[in-house]
Symmetry: C2
Subunit: 368 residues, 2 copies
Amino acid sequence: MDTEYETPLFFHVMEYAGNADTDVIDMVSGNPDWEPPAALREGLHEYADGDPDQFQYPPSEGLLELREEIAERRGVATEQVVITNGAGEANYLAMARALERDRGIEIILTEPVYPYYPGKTTMLGGTTNFVETAADGQLDPDDVCAAASDETAAIVVNSPNNPTGAVYPRETIRELVAIAEENDAILVSDEVYDHFDLAGRFASALGFDSDHRIVTNAFSKSLAITGFRVGYAIFPPELVENAKSRHMLVNVAGSRPSQYAVLHALRETGPDYYEQNRDLLRERVETFTDALDAAGAEYTTPQGAFYVMARFDGYPGTLENVERLIDETGVAGMPGEAFGDSRGEWLRFALVSPRVEEAAERLARYFE
Amino acid sequence: MDTEYETPLFFHVMEYAGNADTDVIDMVSGNPDWEPPAALREGLHEYADGDPDQFQYPPSEGLLELREEIAERRGVATEQVVITNGAGEANYLAMARALERDRGIEIILTEPVYPYYPGKTTMLGGTTNFVETAADGQLDPDDVCAAASDETAAIVVNSPNNPTGAVYPRETIRELVAIAEENDAILVSDEVYDHFDLAGRFASALGFDSDHRIVTNAFSKSLAITGFRVGYAIFPPELVENAKSRHMLVNVAGSRPSQYAVLHALRETGPDYYEQNRDLLRERVETFTDALDAAGAEYTTPQGAFYVMARFDGYPGTLENVERLIDETGVAGMPGEAFGDSRGEWLRFALVSPRVEEAAERLARYFE
């Protein structure tokens, strides 16, 4: 095998936008533009003044106090929690663990898809099987049931969803866990946007106890620190040891200053912080979709996460068109084609800029 | 394949030592006990006060300024440098990249071996082929030449060496590069202890330009920050893109506070810092080996790195004996058997404690 896996386009588009001559409103990445909690900065200062031994390897699976804090919040045993280098590594470990069970090499993904998932699948020697979601991004468990078989190693879902903004109801999650069990597969539930459940409908896969589900998450979005790289995966007890081994063999351990600051922030940050950020996003959704209405664009109103997918007549969501939009309007989005064929006509805009209104106006003017 | 790779014992022994009732002198890990440079702490404070956008994803391959700083110091193009989550990820990427070339699945390792290498090899689907080193830890290139074949994907070496303390002369490195070229394999040269070249004999594989060598390194040891997780790999131009893809698909990016602090420390720290730490280690080597002489133990005097391997008559280097030594003398080392059969009689002691003299005295008393 010479490498066939593809690199997601995010960094490429961000770079293109960054190199543009014009003033560009960045709606490419999933980078929050709001403040991290004050306690996060405090935690980092505190760490910077610590003893030299604090600067050395944390336990491979992460700082014990951080794992305990997460375990208590999520209602699982500390031993099930592995701190990872962001949700990226958490998903990598979860998918690798599912494939290592040797119960098939197929990974079921939803379409449109977060592009890291197929990339990871191919890198790990698996094959992809896409299940299409509805226009509003909802996933029909019957479609997953029909797609699942002996060959299925894992079903990977993401709710609140990037890019569609769909939040799967409790019943969907329950059925997905059952389908994983029936097919001796693993449900990998990526819940990194759980704090951005804008409509109050989020259900975690942790609500359904099972040896067949792994839950992944991170503090990247919830604490506005995508660059810190602190995430976690919660494994069933019988799957956790080998996942810890892979984590150790790939990364040895995660970054201790980051873990320390996150622990401090978790302990000292109240629910107001998260609620404020949800309010901000709700406002931005309204502002942006109002302007899309004015521009006559089709779009989905997100129930969660950071993104609005929009479709402008005669302007398909290709990389070329995204670059043209950057050059001609100064608005940078992601090409829908990056998320699969089903959204090839669409563009994805991340609401992570204070200039969401201006961006929408620029788009409205351009597509008039 | 259900997982067969083994987890290195380091964390296990560290935990055992940490849980002991007695006062234990920790000579297990490769964790420096000396101060990081003052500029590292400054850098972290500076970062903690940065704008929110500084808290978001760095470029996947690492902060550009850090890659430039490394490229300039190492005399390579910036594009060849990938910042990794420590040397651990750097070696993982390098070995994966060698295997992906599809020129064989065998990885040649030296014996005694740093136990992460065989663990990574097995995890990546490769097979190991061990070449024994001499009593003083030196590697005979003729032995590597005899072991290498069409099946060889990579030759992984580590100089200054963990655990033997050997530093390979320039001629050895030159021949290893040539052997990699002749067999269409990749020399992976792990140079993480390059700043701890105690006898002034270190030669980097970067001194021999080749499309067949990857050099890995980290700031974990040189800046006394094993917990920060900042390392790097330098790839030949034609191998770097796929390595960046794997890095992105596994980790997305590395920790930005860590990278920022390391950049600041590199810029502001003069050669004195490194020289002081070498002096400290040279003193500890002398103190410890003097006491080993007094105890009648066999040992090798390290030319570099942090470790002394010692052999006490009738006390083989098993995990059981290491645990007994912790309980009965309060000195924690690593079992020689963790590094392969050839050093099954030996124990490894890391000189990362200010109590090296006391540790040696305890050992002398115990083995008298």
